[in-house]
Amino acid sequence: MVMLSKKTQGSKMRRLIALLALVATPTLAALPVLAADPPAAPAVKGLWLLTDYPSQTVRPGEVANIRFKLQNAGLVPETLALSVDGVPAGWKADVLGGGQPVAAAMPGINESTSLTLRVDVPKDAKPGSQTITVQAKGANQSIDLPVTLTIGTEAPAKLTLKARLPSLMGTPRSAYEYTLAVSNDSGKDLTVAMSAQAPANFQTSFTEGYGTNEISSIPIEAGQSKDIKVKVTPPRDVKAGNYPVLVKVAAEGATADQRVTLQISGQGRLALSAKDGRLSGEAQVGKTSDYTLVVSNDGTAPLEEVELSGSVPTNWKVEFNPKTIPSVAPNEKKEVQVAVTPSDKTIAGDYVASFRANAKGESSNADFRITVTTSTLWGIVGVGIIAVALLVLLGAVARFGRR
């Protein structure tokens, strides 16, 4: 990686030196601050202190961590003492390597050592620019890296938010999922909070690009962009129409928003239930029992030609009145009589009758538990048998009694 970047960066180097401008390569940026002679691509040899942003803005009371590198190109490694010069009074500056203060570094041939200049800016630092110079000093060479720190307001965080598909169409029961890209266009990592303004009773939730966990904020590194998904659930009874949802992201004073739109079209929704809500009933063997079913439309568009059917145990009869309902408007309920006749040979017990309402593309099922009871007729016959037996006894008493 180091070798590769040296090649690509070599040609740009002069231009960069001249402009002292930011080079926005996402991975590694190298800036030769001081070189014995201008390096010619692979042949260049020497020692450099490099940083991406030699001039930065800091705020009083903050700690600025300025990452830099000590680059050795083709030289024999040696110990290079590190020092910091030009630290204003009250300020504190340290060179850190691997998170610890270091006093020297020794990069290998064609290698670099990552270092950080940690500057504690006092709270009362005066506005203006300060230049702090980092120096690496070997036996026979010395290189400097001046870093200019400007006290003042930081460059404001900047966020952009963009929806891939800002408008979706569907029914009240469809899933409305919008993918949005959030970009952190500032120089620092940000934790971005998300929110959405939706019409009343609309529910919104955020998830990570391809994740399923709901989130309310997401960290985005400086310059990076992340996809988030917002899912909007409209209420079931929502009327047809366009509903805007304003998605907002915010971090450290920066905000961005994007309007997405739900284009909800109307739909009928069929529901079949028992009138009193009890999905069970009683019936007598061989006798017709009537139950009242309710066909309702919970949807937003009328339902046409609702057909009713039922599946009952073998040899049972089932009849609907009416068999077909021409139309059920939204939020309308219509009653249907269903007559169930258990067959003569049914024995007492619990049976399932399944009723079904069918409209175009919509259907609803209701399982009815029917408790079949036997007629008490046989009970009366039984009593009759006992009565006959008693009559026999009474006859015997009349004929032979009282002796």
Binding site: G349, D350, A389, L393, F400
Partner: protein, 326 residues
Amino acid sequence: MPRNQGSREGSPFTGLGPVFLKELSDHLSSTRMMVLTLFVIVFGALPVGFTLQEIRTVTASDQFLFLRIFTVEPERMPLSFVVALNFMIPLMAIGLGFDSVNSEFNRRTLSRVLSQPLYRDALLLGKFLGGLATLAVALMALFLIVFGAGLLLLGLPPRGPEVARGIAFLLVAIAYGGVWLAVAMLFSVIFRSTATSALCALGLWLFFFILWPMIASAITTGFTPAQFRSVDEVLTLEQFSSALARLSPGTLFGEAVLGLLNPETKAFGYFANLVMAQTRGMIPGTPLPLDQSLLLIWPQITGLIAGMIVLFAIAYIVFQREEVRA
């Protein structure tokens, strides 16, 4: 021959009370009754004990747990409480009734008692009711022992429907005992020798418990076609076989008890249950309410009661036609 029976005066029930009370007290204080009760308790206690042990280890919730005490066949003993009762009750009833009338003849007490102001009607009915009450007392005691043991060992009270079913079971058991008591009394009226009467009653008992199932199955086999053409044909054959088996009071009692103590029972016969569950859309395993269970077993109950009455009527007619003189 009898010119003026219809004009006889006085209630045929005169003296019924004293006869009933005497029979009851005789039975309850007799050694025979103690032996019989002991017998039944031993036969009943073993399966109940084993069953209780098994039920206690079952953790699955069962809304009719209490009734299982009566019906579960313990693993260690191929005999449930109700099955034990099924053949112990007849033995008890026969023991109570086989000498009720002929012993009066043999002790030469009959004509002396009948010379008191009462009709023979009251004597026979009093004896029958006394025996029935004795059975009821013994069965009730047994029933309470089992219920008590269940309470003690299961540590939970029976629910209302379970108590109701238990009481209905007790009543059916008494009616079943009544049938056999009437059989025993019929023989005691027919035969002067108590030994003959006892032998005949016990013979009938053995016949119904050992021989009749074989005969019934042989008859059914005779009617079985080489090939069944429909499910209904199989059902019809099973119904025929059941009808034959139901000529035995033990079958009636067994089915009645099954319907009462096993609320899930909806049909009798293995095949009938299978067909109902699989092709007729019945939800299996759901309990029936008590009134439906009663309707299901109503033919069995009425069969037992009517059988008891008819047998008593036969015994009554035979007794009334007999000469008092010893």
